[in-house]
């Protein structure tokens, strides 16, 4: 359903993505792992064009774009079918939890207030935040902020969910509540791409693991292939250092 080919991107003189090939099938839950700074976040942001690759192509169902010739309408079409959950939450600070979830429905999807509210309340219930709906972000914990971000993403009914290290900025005791919600979302069948350092979690929820290293996809396979018998020496090394730190 989603295929990226030969993606390249550089910031100034440093080449971050060196020709990434990456694809996802409908219903897949794909986790992207890899050392810090290898371009995992960057890859995810290429999909919805929050960063601008210099070359490569994207195929998203019927939508097609060559990154060398970006096109506003195509970018918008992709954005309308994806939703992203950010490492830093990025909830709108001037809006309550409920408004955060409703606003895209009203502003972008042009739904009525009533319809937007109904959907938003449903999603907030799903992430367990109904009681906090009228609070502003400044009054919430990291876990609650991230669950707001997840509810906002779910409410637009995306075809693909993009999670960028959703628990990396959380205090350890708050990680569990967010992982529980993500697990619930991915097991509902929505196609998901998850960048994470939570190896055990990735292994549990994913049907495919992608290992990125030095700006390329260095290895990919099923969770058991990747975690139990890593063929790639860099992957084996990465996993052993990750397990040590966890």
């Amino acid at each position: 359903m989603l295929e990226l080919k030969n993606l390249k991107l550089s910031y100034g003189t440093s080449q971050i993505l060196n020709g990434v090939n990456f694809s996802v099938k409908r219903g897949d839950v794909v986790s992207i792992i890899g050392p810090s700074g290898t371009g995992k976040t960057t890859l995810l942001k290429c999909i919805n064009y929050l960063v601008k690759p210099t070359s490569g192509t994207i195929d998203f169902d019927q939508i097609r774009m060559d990154y060398a010739r970006p096109d506003k309408a195509t970018i918008q079409a992709i954005r309308l079918r994806t939703a992203m959950v950010f490492q830093q939450f990025n909830v709108f600070k001037n809006m309550t939890v409920l408004q955060n979830v409703m606003d895209p429905l009203v502003v972008v999807q042009r739904k009525s207030q009533d319809e937007a509210r109904e959907i938003a309340l449903m999603e907030l219930d799903r992430v367990g935040l109904s009681a906090k709906k009228d609070q502003y972000p400044a009054q919430l914990s990291g876990g609650q902020l991230q669950r707001t971000g997840i509810a906002r993403a779910l409410a637009v009914r995306p075809d693909v969910m993009l999670f960028d290290e959703p628990t990396s900025s959380l205090d350890p005791e708050l990680v569990g509540e967010v992982l529980k919600v993500i697990k619930d979302v991915t097991s509902s069948g929505i196609t998901s791409i998850l960048v994470t350092h939570e190896m055990q979690f990735a292994k549990n929820i994913s049907n495919r693991i992608v290992f990125m290293d030095a700006g390329v996809v260095a290895a990919e396979g099923s969770p058991s292939e990747m975690f139990d018998a890593p063929a790639n020496p860099r992957l084996a090394q990465f996993l052993s250092t990750e397990l040590e730190t966890q």
Partner: protein, 229 residues
């Protein structure tokens, strides 16, 4: 001896120019803020050529003392107006331009450079992650600015904007150099008649402080009512 009896007449005399001073300060403030916003937008969007012009403009007006800018306007603008009018075949008397108009133009020119920095500061306080989130959900730049960016940066800018409104009001006292009468100039003129300079300036200080206190309190209340989060 300090003459307490003269304070009330002085106050009444100075109060007659307060509305005019405030009106000029607000006019300058509004135009300088609009111009400063345009400058910041040009810089932020990195519009070529215009961006370099804005930077040069800011260097000039931040560096030149306001009183010199006022004299430049006073002596330079009337012939400039005549020249521009002659280009379209009109004959006007540029020297008939009232001094207060020239003062307003000069101060708008100076303060726009400072307002641009105030607005830039507020813009930089906005964390771009929220813009990323909005764009990822399909917001256009305009929708994102209206719903998320502006509500936050306007509130962030209020304290600095209140300060620059007071700076503007004080800058008007330089208008004395080209005989525009504000609070300070009126104090000066009142004292010139009776030689009670100290008394007149004490009254002027009280008037300035009252205005300043009112602006500060007003800005605080505005900020608190807008910062719902």
């Amino acid at each position: 001896m300090f003459n307490f009896g003269i304070l009330l007449p002085d106050l009444l005399s100075i109060l007659t120019v307060v509305p005019r001073t405030i009106a000029m300060a607000v006019t300058i403030f509004v135009f300088a803020t609009i111009l400063g916003s345009v400058f910041t937008l040009i810089e932020h969007r990195r519009i070529p050529v215009l961006r370099e012009l804005v930077i040069a403009y800011k260097v000039f007006f931040k560096g030149v003392p306001m009183v010199i800018a006022i004299f430049l306007a006073y002596f330079g603008l009337p012939p400039a107006f005549e020249f521009i009018a002659s280009l379209v075949g009109l004959e006007i008397n540029g020297y008939a331009t009232p001094s207060w108009v020239l003062l307003i133009i000069a101060l708008v020119g100076c303060l726009a450079a400072f307002q641009a920095e105030v607005i830039k500061g507020a813009l930089n306080s906005f964390d771009t992650g929220q813009a990323d989130a909005a764009h990822s959900l399909g917001y256009t730049n305009i929708q994102m600015s209206r719903r998320i960016l502006l509500p936050q940066i306007v509130v962030a800018a209020i304290p600095d904007l209140a300060t620059s409104l007071m700076v503007t009001m004080k800058a008007l006292s330089l208008g004395f150099a080209i005989s525009v009468v504000d609070i300070f100039a009126q104090a000066q003129l009142t004292a010139a008649l009776n030689y009670y300079y100290l008394e007149a300036f004490v009254v002027a200080v009280v008037v300035y402080m009252t205005i300043s206190y009112t602006i500060t309190r007003g800005a605080d209340m505005l900020e608190r009512s807008l910062r719902v989060w």
